[in-house]
């Protein structure tokens, strides 16, 4: 078996183009998938026109000057603004496809904000020809405008709270350049209490003053709660998120798991199926199994070769990815276990495919045709399809190594136990290995 392994390695060494394709293709595909899953699209280019005169950018809220343009900060972080001079120019840029959308801040925006009688309106234009892009622009701008709204609401709440505080505790207040001394409920209560004490015991006014004191106390105590009330008004609904299922895997780390598992799948399947089919293509199979090597021995050699090569490539890939994504190297033994188990299960599947094909090209084509849909099926999230269909997808995914290999690697890279996934992969290795051995019986050169 050792000599056969050396022979296969020698053949691979003399097929640099094949090896390069075998390694580069899955790595490139895996990296693309990984990036696609881990990163949103880049900031969309949006034409931006601010028709508000520079002098009107500031509004006064409760005696405080607020620069409205600063509230647009979060929006500019989410888009790539292309500043234009007019509304028409912005719309033309959207029509021509130079930008994905246009954002117009009308001239009266700050006036409306200042008056507070009606909401200020900003205009968004986008091209709806491409629904994906349209959705993206709409959602991005909507979400960022919500952020800006929240920021302004916060500012308004702050001003309102200042007024309430003034009413509660009293103090000085400036309006139109004149200073006023506001008594406040607290001091009113104190003054009334002192005045009441000076009243004759039997005076009917004593009881009336007492009622006013009680009212002032009640009002002050309730105004103390106004912080919370106004905060609730500003953000009536808060979101508290709790993940019920699955681990706390960061998206970038999950993308690494997917990228490496896709590579592991491609390299192992193609190698295992290819080297086995090569024995038939070169007509050497019958010569070998006439007593030189047992059929089982031949399968073990091919599985070992494919699993070993893919394991090395995937480890190198993980090491490379760890430069960009934080990976916990102390879990290396778990990575190795997950990769080895996955590689063996894929190798057994590859051998089964290899027994079906007479030529390397046919075997490779079969591998790609089978593996891609299986990988995509395994990535379908629950809730994306009808429950019955999702159950069927889960069953199909469980019958092939991609999903358990992905889960094992994800658990190995992040957190959680990999034991159940390793057992699953072992069962698939045995099942596919058995199928390959049975299928090999019908080989007759």
């Amino acid at each position: 078996m050792r000599w056969l392994l050396l022979k296969d390695l020698q053949i691979l060494r003399r097929s640099p183009l094949l090896v390069a394709l075998l390694v580069l293709y899955p790595v490139v595909i895996a990296t693309l998938i990984g990036f696609a899953l881990s990163r949103g699209p880049d900031e969309p280019q949006v034409a931006f026109v601010n028709e508000v005169p520079e002098s009107a950018n500031e509004i006064e809220l409760g005696g405080e000057r607020v620069d409205v343009t600063r509230q647009a900060g979060p929006l500019f972080r989410a888009i790539d603004p292309v500043r234009v001079d007019s509304r028409e120019e912005a719309i033309a840029k959207v029509r021509s496809g130079d930008v994905l959308g246009a954002l117009v801040i009308p001239e009266d925006t700050t006036q409306k904000l200042q008056a507070g009688l009606e909401p200020a309106t900003i205009e968004v234009f986008y091209n709806a020809e491409d629904p994906v892009k349209a959705d993206y622009v709409r959602d991005t701008i909507k979400s960022q405008v919500s952020d800006a709204n929240r920021a302004l609401t916060g500012k308004l709440s702050e001003v309102a709270l200042g007024f309430l505080d003034l009413i509660s505790t009293g103090g000085r207040y400036s309006f139109l350049g004149r200073d006023f001394d506001v008594l406040g409920l607290e001091r009113s209560e104190q003054i009334l209490a002192e005045a009441r004490a000076d009243l004759p015991r039997r005076s009917p006014a004593r009881e009336q003053v007492k009622q006013v004191i009680a009212f002032a106390r009640l009002a002050r105590e309730n105004l103390d709660l106004s912080d919370d009330v106004l905060s609730s008004v500003g953000t009536p609904i808060r979101v508290e998120q709790t993940a019920l299922d699955g681990g706390a895997t960061p998206l970038s780390s999950f993308a690494v798991s997917i990228a490496v598992t896709v590579s592991l799948m491609f390299i192992t399947l193609l190698l295992a199926a290819g080297v086995l089919a090569l024995e038939r293509e070169e007509n050497a199979f019958m010569r070998l199994v006439r007593g030189l090597v047992s059929r089982t021995g031949l399968l073990v050699e091919k599985a070992g070769l494919a699993a070993g090569c893919s394991l090395v490539v995937c480890l190198v890939m993980l090491a490379g990815l760890s430069l960009f994504v934080q990976l916990d190297w102390s879990r290396l033994p778990l990575w190795l276990a997950a990769l080895a188990a996955g590689a063996l299960a894929f190798a057994a599947m590859g051998l089964t495919i290899g027994t079906l094909a007479r030529e390397v090209r046919a075997a490779s084509l079969l591998c790609v045709m089978l593996s891609l849909p299986l990988a995509f099926l395994a990535l379908v999230p629950s809730g994306a399809v009808a429950p019955g269909l999702f159950d069927a997808i889960r069953v199909v995914s469980a019958l092939f190594p991609f999903k358990p290999a992905l889960e094992a690697l994800d658990a190995a890279l992040n957190e959680g136990s990999i034991a159940i996934h390793l057992l699953h992969l072992l069962a698939l290795f045995l099942a596919f290995g058995g199928a390959a051995r049975l299928s090999l019986r019908r080989f007759a050169g």
């Binding site: 000599w3 056969l4 020698q10 003399r14 070169e282 010569r287 006439r290 007593g291 007759a444």
Partner: protein, 253 residues
Amino acid sequence: MPESSTSPARAQVGPGAGAAVLEARDLVKRYGDREALRGVSLRADRGELVAVIGPNGAGKTTLLSILAGIARPDSGSVSLGPAQVGWVPQQAAVYGKLTVAENLRLFARLERVRDPEQTVLRMLELTGLGDRAEEQVAHLSGGNRQRVNIAIGLLGGQPVLLLDEPSAALDPRQRERVWEFVGSLAAEGTAVVYSTHNVQEAERHAQRVIVLADGELLFEGSPSRLEDAVEREASARGDFEQSFVCYLRQRGH
């Protein structure tokens, strides 16, 4: 019952001729309802060249596969096991990406020969491919590839060599070189059993021919005896191929 003859052959006879090294008796092989072989028996002596000829579907490859141990007969027996018989498949079973020497070395090691390097050198000398030893087999001509194919069949040093259509797809010059090589093996004492479509080759390079048709053994004897058998009944005088065709026709094939 097949006609038979033990008269001397036209081709050369190797040393020790006459000692049977391979015997197969009453071989029957069925594929579903079809009988590919119907009680075929065969023997090959030391240094003898035995040609198995017959029309397409006669059972030639099935017979050689059973003798090589690749296929199992439904009934009947073969005196030697697979390890004791060298086998050369019709299509060259060699690795194109490996050199001639590497192919020979690999199979020598898998055959567990005592001194693989020495064996490789001997085979390179025997095949006359010493100067191409480091060339990848994929770059060799069909004839040279077939010589490597045959050399691999000889690595185990078995006393019997089975060749399935050894000259198929070769040009006349390459064919001639292959037959020279096979003749030299027989001259050294190897019993060679080969199948061929080319009946002229059987006439020229076999001491004994076995004629199969529809899985049935029709004739076993020297090529001259086959011509004699036809001449008695028809007028295909002087042309072995014509005689062969007449022989089959007269027997309903």
